[in-house]
């Protein structure tokens, strides 16, 4: 089954592109064919639209087809190819078939249907013909080829959980320290007759405010960091793929989590402080 899903362009590495301009060579007797190259190849080989290059199926072979570059194509944001350094070239189907001696063969067909029900019908009818083909919905293929990214997602989630646990520990520690610093003030308040509840609520109010402020700051920092990550990796991998996306859902989750952790840490610290007898707070 996988043979059906050899992406056509996987054969491209077998098609070597000699990146030399050959304006001086007379056009061949047959009509000159045109190709499209990706922007990465254009940039690295210094090619422009209108340039002529020789393409062949055998690396290092002097014989080949002289073609003209008719277009420069932007690479798609396909995560599956982001780490690969290969170049992409598009030829007319019959040209490539002839060039690589593939005959009247293809690796796959991409089919656009009239909609959901029509898709089901097409899949059913193609699969029942038993011509050695198998039809899949694009979504199924995406899932199958996304296994790598599922692993990366799991890894990110695990790192995220560890980071959250670490942050919660730090937060609780620092809240306890900060609250301990105000033992005497709280002792004086309690001795004056201010209730435990008031002490707890005032500390929690403060921690809520700090948590909210921190959340807003964190959202801003996250947006800036996401921009930096995208800018960096888009440059490194030369792809328009967006590596980090901050969605409203992500923001809402992050803010909710940080508020819960911040207020929770404040509540724990406040309870600890309020539970201690005023005299003990003075160190007696």
């Amino acid at each position: 089954m996988t043979s059906l899903f050899l992406v056509l362009l996987a054969l491209v590495p077998a098609v070597a592109v000699s990146a030399q301009r050959i304006d001086s060579i007379a056009p061949s007797a047959t009509a000159e064919r045109s190709i499209a190259i990706d922007e990465r190849l254009a940039a690295d080989a210094g090619l422009r639209i209108g340039d002529r290059v020789v393409i062949s199926a055998e690396p290092g072979s002097p014989a080949g087809d002289t073609v003209r570059i008719a277009a420069i194509v932007r690479r798609g944001a396909d995560p599956a190819e982001v780490a690969r350094s290969e170049y992409r070239v598009r030829l007319h189907l019959d040209h490539l078939q002839r060039l690589i001696g593939y005959g009247d063969r293809v690796d796959r067909f991409a089919i656009r249907t009239a909609g959901g029900a029509a898709t089901d019908s097409v899949i059913r009818r193609v699969n029942s013909r038993a011509f050695g083909f198998r039809a899949y919905r694009s979504r199924e293929i995406a899932v199958e080829t996304s296994k790598t990214f599922l692993v990366v997602s799991r890894f990110h989630r695990a790192i995220g959980v560890i980071t959250i646990v670490a942050s919660a520990t730090f937060l609780l520690c620092i809240m306890l320290l900060k609250v301990d610093e105000r033992r005497r003030d709280v002792a004086a308040m309690r001795l004056m007759g201010i209730s435990r509840a008031t002490v707890v609520w005032s500390v929690m109010l403060e921690s809520s405010f700090v948590a909210l402020l921190g959340s807003l700051f964190g959202v801003g920092l996250g947006l800036v960091t996401a921009w930096l990550v995208n800018a960096h990796y888009q440059a490194v991998y030369r792809t328009p793929l967006r590596f980090a996306i901050v969605t409203p859902g992500t923001i809402a989750f992050s803010v909710a989590l940080s508020l819960v952790l911040g207020i929770g840490a404040g509540a724990l610290a406040a309870r600890r402080l309020a539970r201690t007898a005023p005299a003990a707070l003075f160190g007696r």
Binding site: A14, G132, C173, L177
Partner: protein, 395 residues
């Protein structure tokens, strides 16, 4: 007495000390994990590539070994050309293809390597014998389980499947001569190794005298890069990749993990430092009066700093020790996630524990703990004694 004072000060607020140590432990664990991640891939990949001594891999031009289904034509002449290059001691051609084990039900598909069993670096024989005979093969445990076969059994196998016509280019009966662990495949992958000529013939005209890869062993002391360049000059239709080059390519593809490791490691270090600084600062602020009295009765500034720094060290060392254990446990968990990458060789680990790197990282954390204690303690020990005593009396 300074050590005693430091220890007693830490025990003064046990829950605070424990929580701070836990925070340092989490920092240390993350730092350790990131150090393991930064070096793990490279080290385990280098170890894998260096096994059996092959220093250069030769693949179809513009590709990486087994990155595509492209093959090198005229493999025999290519082998002769490479053997003629000074410094080359062994050339091992390898062909990769799909192999179908036919039975009464649906066929079992496996990945097959056609090679010379006398000069190969793709599998380790676990039991039985190498496939020296033309009609022999060794199989992975997963393939043996899937087919229900054992050593000595005969399998009906085919290659060169045409999906449209549902025919095979070649079909043979092969004897399972051994059980093997395939170094560059996952533990659950169905794989087999047989003689190169057998697989080429089974692949039909398309596979005649073609290979997917050559593995080259160079003489000891030879400049590997020099030989690599010579191979590419001699054979323009191939790309030669040294072990160093392969590692560099793999690192480039996985550079994200190294950079993530660096960033998270740096953040862990900073957070650990900040935590110890905060703890020490608060602890010192609570004891300003005591510190002023100690200065008044004649304890030197430096000795006070030492005592407080020792407290910071105690926190950091305790936290680092706990972090070492925690880090190893979390690294195992994270490694298990990343090892489920499809197609990842079983021998590759993303998180590799290397004692010298680990202790260096933890040493850095402890050093940051020392640095974290110096400023607040020096500041406290330098406050004017009389003014401080007066303020403490009022407070």
């Amino acid at each position: 007495m300074r050590l005693q004072l430091a220890a007693m000060s830490l025990r003064r607020h046990p829950s605070r000390t424990l929580l701070a140590a836990l925070g340092v432990a989490v920092s240390a664990a993350m730092l350790l994990d990131m150090v393991m991640l930064a070096t793990g891939m490279r080290e385990s990949f280098a170890s894998l590539l260096g096994r059996n001594g092959f220093t250069i891999r030769v693949a179809p031009r513009g590709t990486l070994p087994f990155d595509t289904e492209a093959t090198v034509a005229q493999a025999s002449s290519a082998v002769d050309a490479m053997r003629a290059i000074p410094g080359v001691s062994v050339v091992a051609p390898v062909l990769g293809a799909s192999l179908h084990v036919l039975g009464t039900g649906e066929s079992v598909t496996a990945f097959a390597l056609g090679l010379d069993p006398n000069v190969q670096g793709d599998y380790e024989l676990l039991e039985g014998a190498n496939p020296s005979a033309p009609d022999a093969l060794v199989a992975s445990d997963a393939l043996l389980r899937a087919t229900g076969a054992r050593i000595g059994d005969t399998l009906d196998v085919a290659a060169g499947f045409d999906p449209q016509l549902r025919t095979y280019a070649g079909r043979r009966r092969l004897v399972v001569s051994g059980r093997a662990r395939f170094l560059f495949l996952g533990a659950g992958d169905r794989a087999a190794a047989l003689r190169l000529a057998t697989l080429q013939r089974m692949g039909g005209p398309e596979r005649r005298d073609r290979v997917s890869l050559f593995m080259v062993r160079t003489d000891s002391g030879v400049d590997v890069e020099h030989v690599r360049a010579a191979i590419e000059r001699a054979l323009p239709r191939v790309t030669a990749l040294s072990t160093a080059g392969a590692i560099a390519e793999a690192e480039h593809r996985l550079s994200y993990f190294r950079q993530l490791a660096f960033i998270l490691g740096a953040v862990s270090l900073i957070v650990g430092f900040l935590l110890v600084t905060t703890i020490v600062t608060v602890s010192v602020n609570e004891r300003i009066g005591e510190i002023a009295v100690m200065r008044a009765i004649g304890v030197s500034r430096w000795h006070i700093v030492q005592q407080i720094v020792v407290e910071g060290i105690g926190l950091s060392v305790g936290g680092a020790a706990a972090g070492l254990v925690l880090g190893i446990v979390t690294a195992r968990y994270l490694n298990s996630i990343l090892r489920s990458f499809p197609g990842l060789p079983d021998a590759i680990d993303f998180f590799l524990f290397q004692p010298h790197a680990a202790f260096r990282a933890l040493g850095l954390l402890i050093a940051s703990g020392i640095a974290a204690g110096i400023y607040p303690s020096w500041r406290a020990a330098s406050l004017p004694i009389s003014a401080t005593l007066r303020e403490e009396a009022i407070g």
